[in-house]
Amino acid sequence: MPAVDDIPNLPDAEFRRRVREWLAANLTGEFAALVGSGGPGREHENIELRTRWEHELGAAGWIGLGWPEAHGGRGATIAQQVIFFEEYARVGGPGRLSHMGEYLLAPTLIAFGTEEQQRRFLPSIAAATEFWCQGYSEPNAGSDLASVQTRAVRDGDVWRVTGQKVWTSLAHVADWCFVLARTDPDAPKRRGLSYLLVPMDQPGIEVRPITQITGTSEFNEVFFDGAVTAAENIVGAPGDGWRVATGTLAFERGVATLGQQLGFARELDEVFAAARASGAYDDPVWRDAAVDAWVGLQTLRHQALRTLGTPAGDLPGVEASVSKLLWAPWHQRLGELAMTAVGPTATLADGGLSDAQRLFLYTRADTIYGGSNEIQRNIIADRLLGRVPRS
């Protein structure tokens, strides 16, 4: 039973009030321990409790807010989705485990999936009873994603998948993986790929955690050794995988970006607080850099509001790249600022990493994952300057 009905017809202020009320009433009791947990550098924390929290979110109808109602979504407006993110970030809601299903797979299924696939998978994403991970990157297919070598071969009623994926976030908690695999080794490299939905709990799959720069582990290697999935678990036609994988809408990311910025704002507040405590704040040179970070954060917000408000935008199709090139380096600089705010104490790690150190270390990933900043620059340059012909 959803916590709020008839969302599309609810005024924004009323919607915000309902979200706030629900969070206040539910992020309590055992879940109170989750406040602030699971964020950057802390993804490994409280998995079991966070899983149950996801079930609460799902039962209350907060997952799939922006999906069309025909697909089991709530038909929330962009403004309402942003409000949900804002309120969630405001109370320090824990890092999400269901987001790859909700924001990457679901829009893909809605755009490219069959009715059967939509009926099979969307409800369990919305209820958070099945978690997803993304099987794209491989040891030899990072930025050059189309070089994926993991093979999938049709064998009667199933696909058999063999190969290795890497940097697979949350593979150790996921029930399913959407896998980009090569089904036609003779086709040109982008045309020989297919988009498969593969269950994780089977003998042909082994997940090995990778310890990150933070000393914790959120991503994994995933080994496929003849792993199987039913023949119908292919999104799009065989050979359509590249189009399906890259067709994921940048729109939802824009919505998520505004929510993410509330987290950034809280981090920046903490940096200011640390600097006041350490005395760094009294140094006008340090403060000037900190004010510039504040200015940068406002600009991120202006950018997100403008591109959400005008879907065509000035650089249609590459807003997501522009956004990434704005926020990722900004967040990285914030991590550096956090360390200088603390001063030499930032070199000590008695009792584990501090928040500042986690932020500092984790943000090195921001400019790499989801398409490195160099790839994002390529995407924008292709738009402005045309693609460079391959010699």
């Binding site: 403008r306 005008t310 390529n378």
Partner: protein, 352 residues
């Protein structure tokens, strides 16, 4: 927050761009020495852009900051050598109840008006401005010196920030009554002047000096977006056509990535400048305006400086327009407070 443009606003942009592309050519901008009277007459008279945001009862069209912003951005694209920014910021800064005589003439473009704010040695800090107004008969007289007055030598009326009995205000004076020393300027497309007032007759036309500064910040920001966009387009065109090593320069990743970063800066500048215009009627403007000025002029500077580098030696020549964009961007960046000064303002207002 609505960032989109209506069909009418898009038409306005198209009309202004077509007019300026045709008439504000590089040759004409260069020949104008900062003021092309014929261009100004037609912009105000035929296109009516000076009347946009002025209330209908004062002879305007009753449109908003958004329409003015569109024209300012387009003016920036061609480095318009005409006092549009000066006139519209002055028009927006005055209090309509006090300036009922002035506004219809501003609307029809029959007078050129500009804001006089900065003072020698006191820079852009209103607290340190020493220009004074004294009551005299029905009106006032003004004493003091103003510096960096944009289009100061061609203005018919100057709106001066001055203090009367401790109260800051905006006072209109006739250009004929003051002493004007025109400057040669680094940016040849917009001139500045030093103005001196000795018991010059003045009338009170507004009280919100702080808002006058904010309006000028926002106007410089959105104009700088136009400067940056045009400069980036010039650079992109050049990279796509200029061949070296047997291929267009646009094939080299070292250059492609720099262009991508410039495009990102221009996008961010556009967002912050337009955000400021969209909140011009709210309290948020007091922070959004200096922030937009900082972000947009920094982007315009980065783009125009890189434009010279990406053009190679031709970009360093007088005959190429790259330096004109670079100089306008530089002036916009330094006028009315540089980045450090603006950060100081923002920090104080945001309580950082």
């Amino acid at each position: 927050m609505e960032f989109g443009f209506t069909a009418e606003q898009t038409d306005l942009r198209d009309t202004v761009r077509a007019f300026l592309t045709r008439h504000a050519t590089s040759a004409r901008v260069r020949a104008a020495d900062g003021f092309d009277a014929e261009l100004w007459r037609r912009l105000a008279g035929e296109l009516g852009v000076t009347a946009l945001a002025i209330d209908e009862k004062h002879g305007g069209f009753g449109a908003s900051e958004v329409e003015v912003g569109i024209v300012l951005e387009e003016a920036g694209r061609v480095l318009l050598p005409a006092p549009y920014l000066s006139t519209v910021t002055a028009a927006a800064a005055v209090d309509p109840a006090l300036a009922a005589d002035l506004l219809p003439r501003l609307a029809d473009g029959s007078v050129i008006v500009t804001l006089a704010l900065a003072e020698p040695g006191a820079g852009w800090t209103p607290d340190r401005w020493a220009c004074t107004a004294r009551r005299s008969g029905d009106g006032y007289v003004l004493d003091g010196v103003k510096e960096h007055v944009l289009d100061g030598a061609i203005a018919d009326v100057v709106v001066v920030a001055a203090v009367c009995d401790g109260e800051p205000g905006l006072y209109a004076v006739r250009a004929a009554d003051l002493r004007c020393t025109p400057h040669d300027t680094l940016d040849p497309t917009r001139r500045q002047a030093r103005l001196e007032f000795e018991a010059v007759p003045a009338s009170l036309v507004g009280r919100d000096v702080r808002r006058a500064v904010e309006l000028l910040w926002a106007a410089l920001a959105v104009e700088s977006v136009g400067v940056a966009r045009a400069s980036l387009e010039l650079t992109v065109d050049y990279l796509r056509t200029r061949q070296q090593f047997g291929v267009p320069l646009a094939h080299f990743q070292a250059l492609r990535h720099r262009v991508a970063e410039l495009a990102v800066a221009v996008e961010a500048a556009t967002s912050s400048a337009w955000y400021a215009l969209r909140v011009a009627g709210t309290e948020e403007f007091t922070i959004a305006a200096p922030l937009a000025k900082l972000v947009a002029t920094r982007a315009a500077y980065a783009v125009t400086a890189e434009s010279i580098q990406l053009h190679g030696a031709i970009g360093f020549t007088w005959e190429h327009d790259a330096h004109l964009y670079f100089k306008r961007a530089t002036a916009n960046r330094l006028l009315l407070g540089d980045e450090v000064a603006l950060r100081r303002v923002i920090a104080a207002r945001a309580g950082l």
